[in-house]
């Protein structure tokens, strides 16, 4: 297995994802002789994991079961240990497309943070591209290096511990794309420009505050970037539910069984046929939005080096 290449069977040293149920999962480092505790009981790596096919159901000691999944950057994003606020797959998706990333791309990123975006970028540029990621916090930089090693992708990434605003990315004129998620991105625009290839490179800056965005757009313009464009993207999730609504009692006209308008015994006005659970209800399937949704992550500003 690797984060950039699918494998079929679980091996010693793999990072696998244990799936317990709805939105409940966690990553696990597969190792001979180790056990993992879950609410359904114990999973013994040597017996239950190693050699099994990814996607298999594993029964735990208490009788309940879990699924073992092959890691992907998306699953990693949902389960990684947070050292900083991270980017989620919704933003990551549009960043990847708007930066025109693909196998062979050279990308620069700062800050590395918890490595959520980093893993996704590495996956996209593999096997011939490279990620140069800069993190000014020493421990976070070291932790990131360690994780990339464990996940079998360290040959595709270089972690540099420095301040990108002062010292740039450590490379010049080779990047296809640059990504900035730092407090003062306008201070790094110049460095971003020199890291980018001569013509056609793309840049993206992620900022939660509109004031940061304004400053960054101005800086981009000053440095001669074109096609400057700011957007935001939000995810709306729907729960699929069967809903039952009661039919109100509007009283009965004397001896007349047909109620004007809404006929409860013939719910065909709903389009899809549904059965009544009890007298006076109509059932239908609905995609129900969640009670709360993420309302804002950050503004994404893209531009092209001309």
């Amino acid at each position: 297995m690797s984060f950039v290449e699918y494998g079929d069977t679980i091996k010693d040293g793999d990072t696998a994802i244990v799936f317990l149920g709805h939105e409940s999962m966690f990553p696990v480092k597969v190792q001979h002789g180790t056990v993992t505790q879950t609410k359904y009981g114990v999973i013994r790596h040597s017996m239950d994991l190693i050699g099994k096919k990814y996607g298999s159901k594993v029964t735990c000691s208490k009788g309940g079961w879990v699924f073992i999944l092959h890691p992907t950057p998306e699953l990693w994003t949902m389960n990684l240990p947070h050292r900083t606020q991270i980017l989620y797959s919704t933003d990551i998706s549009i960043i990847t497309m708007m930066l025109e990333l693909k196998p062979g791309s050279i990308v620069c990123e700062s800050g590395t943070g918890s490595g959520s975006l980093s893993h996704a970028l590495i996956r996209t540029v593999a096997p011939t591209g490279h990620l140069y990621t800069v993190e000014f916090h020493q421990q976070r930089a070291e932790k990131a290096r360690e994780e990339f090693r464990e996940h079998g992708v360290d040959h595709l990434v270089t972690v540099t511990n420095q301040d990108v605003c002062k010292n740039g990315f450590g490379v010049s004129n080779i990047a296809d794309a640059v990504f900035l998620d730092i407090p003062s991105p306008w201070e790094a625009i110049g460095h971003a420009k020199s890291a980018l290839k001569a013509e056609g490179g793309r840049i993206c800056s992620f900022s939660p505050c509109i004031e940061q965005v304004q400053r960054t757009c101005l800086a981009m313009e000053e440095y001669g970037f074109t096609e400057i464009n700011t957007l935001e993207i939000l995810l709306r999730v729907y729960n699929v539910r069967t809903i039952s609504l009661q039919i109100p009692d509007l009283g009965k006209a004397a001896e007349d069984n047909s109620s004007a308008g809404f006929d409860s015994s013939n719910p065909s006005n709903q389009g899809s046929p549904c059965t009544n659970l009890q007298q006076g209800t109509v059932q239908f399937k609905s995609g129900v939005p969640l009670r709360e949704m993420v309302g804002h992550t950050g503004y994404l500003t893209f531009a092209t080096k001309s």
Binding site: Y6, D8, G21, H22, G55, I92, S93, P103, V240, R241
Partner: protein, 448 residues
């Protein structure tokens, strides 16, 4: 070749040799000239008003008439000059606020300055272009939704992907771009052949197409039920056989699908055959009888050879599918997603993501329900993305005025090993595990 675009017409000849991203001006002759970096001189008239309380829109503030402007254009005067003339002849210009002046100039420039930038195609460019100009061709798949699909599906180099789309080949192209020529793709198609109009716009190198296969949907059932290979027997092309119809030597089912493939105007093979047929008819008129007979034999042999090749490819692709080890599935079509998903999932390995796009939400509700009944999938999620563009200018930052009303919906999930024997128990267990029970819904839980 004359290109007509947004009321501009020009020839592309002068563009050849320039770097992608170069901006050109269209001269009066329709030729392209690289645009000079013009120093934006500070506007001489810094005169501006403070608000619009006294500006009356009576349509009479511009002194130049349509004819005047046309005369200027005919004289060959550059767009910049025309804009300058318009400003000078506008009675209200100096009363406008600076912001309003800016906006006015931008608007006039867009109309009168013929400036073209030539860019290299990419998923970003093509998907935004198709959504803006031809959304009907791509089932109103908005570009951010496409971006989600590519990421949720973990599309990357080395995958063995199954793609089923009726989006003019845009989704296929996007998948190909993210795979970089590594791995393989099997495109499922309805009818006679896959539409790849948009795919060809990406400008992929030829080798990207070496591992692109296609397979007709109409054969999926037979492949799943195990009857495909017994029906389709490989047979050698027979040189001596001069046939009027192509039905000889082939089984009926193969023949109809091949004839369909020939009739579909979208397959290259069909076009090739049509061309040779046309050539044949013109040749016949000029030749004598014996030569005519030989030519017919040759053409028929060509046709048979091509058919044999196509059939060989079909069998190879079927074998690839039968391995049931695809790394992912992407569906984005005009068809109802449920039957597609239920059958195509059979070809996907366990612990792999799949994504289904639908312009409408309701079919995905049904899909979700059927998938729960089938089992073998987890982490099902029905979602859509909301996209907003912003104008960011000093003191004038705000979301843009218009926004897309809807960009379609996605149903995504991950496959797991399908436990066919125990589907009932895992179903109710899955209910307990997969869906958080809400107090009100308890009675309906069994029906969810």
């Amino acid at each position: 070749r004359k290109i007509i675009f947004e009321k501009q017409w020009f020839y592309l000849d002068n563009a050849i040799g320039h770097i992608y991203g170069t901006t050109f001006e269209v001269t009066s002759g329709g030729n392209l000239q690289p645009k000079q970096e013009v120093e934006e001189t500070a506007t001489e008239t810094k005169e501006a008003g403070t608000d619009n309380r006294n500006i009356v829109d009576d349509g009479k503030s511009q002194k130049l008439t349509h004819d005047d402007i046309k005369a200027l254009k005919d004289k060959g005067i550059k767009g910049q000059e025309i804009v300058q003339q318009l400003i000078e002849n506008s009675t209200t210009f100096r009363d406008k606020t600076e912001f309003a002046q800016d906006k006015y100039i931008k608007k006039k420039k867009k109309k009168y300055e013929a400036v073209i930038t030539i860019v290299k195609p990419s998923t970003r460019i093509l998907s935004t272009m198709y959504y803006a100009r031809e959304p009907g061709k791509i089932n109103h798949l908005r570009y951010d939704t496409l971006a989600q699909m590519l990421t949720l599906g973990n599309i990357h180099a080395g995958n063995k992907m199954i793609v089923m789309e009726t989006c003019a080949g845009l989704v296929l192209g996007a998948v190909m771009e993210r795979m970089g020529g590594y791995g393989s793709i099997i495109q499922m198609y309805p009818g006679g052949g896959p539409v790849r109009a948009a795919t060809n716009c990406f400008g992929f190198p030829k080798l990207f197409f070496d591992n692109l296969h296609e397979f007709p949907l109409s054969k999926v059932d037979s492949l799943l039920s195990g009857t495909f290979f017994t029906e389709t027997l490989p047979s050698e092309p027979e040189d001596n056989m001069v046939v009027e119809e192509e039905s000889n030597g082939l089984t009926d089912e193969k023949q109809t699908s091949l004839q369909e493939a020939e009739e579909a105007s979208t397959t290259e093979a069909a076009m090739e055959i049509n061309q040779t047929e046309e050539q044949e008819t013109t040749d016949i008129n000029a030749e004598d009888v014996e030569f005519k007979e030989n030519k017919e034999k040759e053409n028929v042999r060509e046709k048979q050879r091509k058919q044999w090749e196509r059939r060989k490819k079909l069998i190879e692709t079927a074998a690839l599918l039968r391995e049931k080890n695809a790394d992912g599935l992407i569906i984005a079509s005009k068809f109802h997603p449920t039957p597609l998903l239920l059958s195509l999932l059979e070809f996907v390995a366990p612990s792999r993501p799949f994504v289904v796009y639908c312009q409408y939400k309701e079919p995905l509700l049904e899909c979700y329900t059927k998938l729960r009944e089938r089992g073998g999938v987890i982490n099902l999620k029905l979602s859509e993305t909301w996209l907003r563009n912003y104008q960011v200018l000093p003191d004038r930052s705000h979301p843009k005025l218009t926004m897309s009303g809807g960009g379609g919906y996605l149903l995504s999930g991950i496959t797991v090993v399908l436990d066919k024997g125990k589907s009932d128990s895992s179903h109710s267990e899955a209910l307990k595990m997969e869906e958080p029970s809400c107090k009100r819904c308890k009675v309906q839980d069994l029906h969810c």
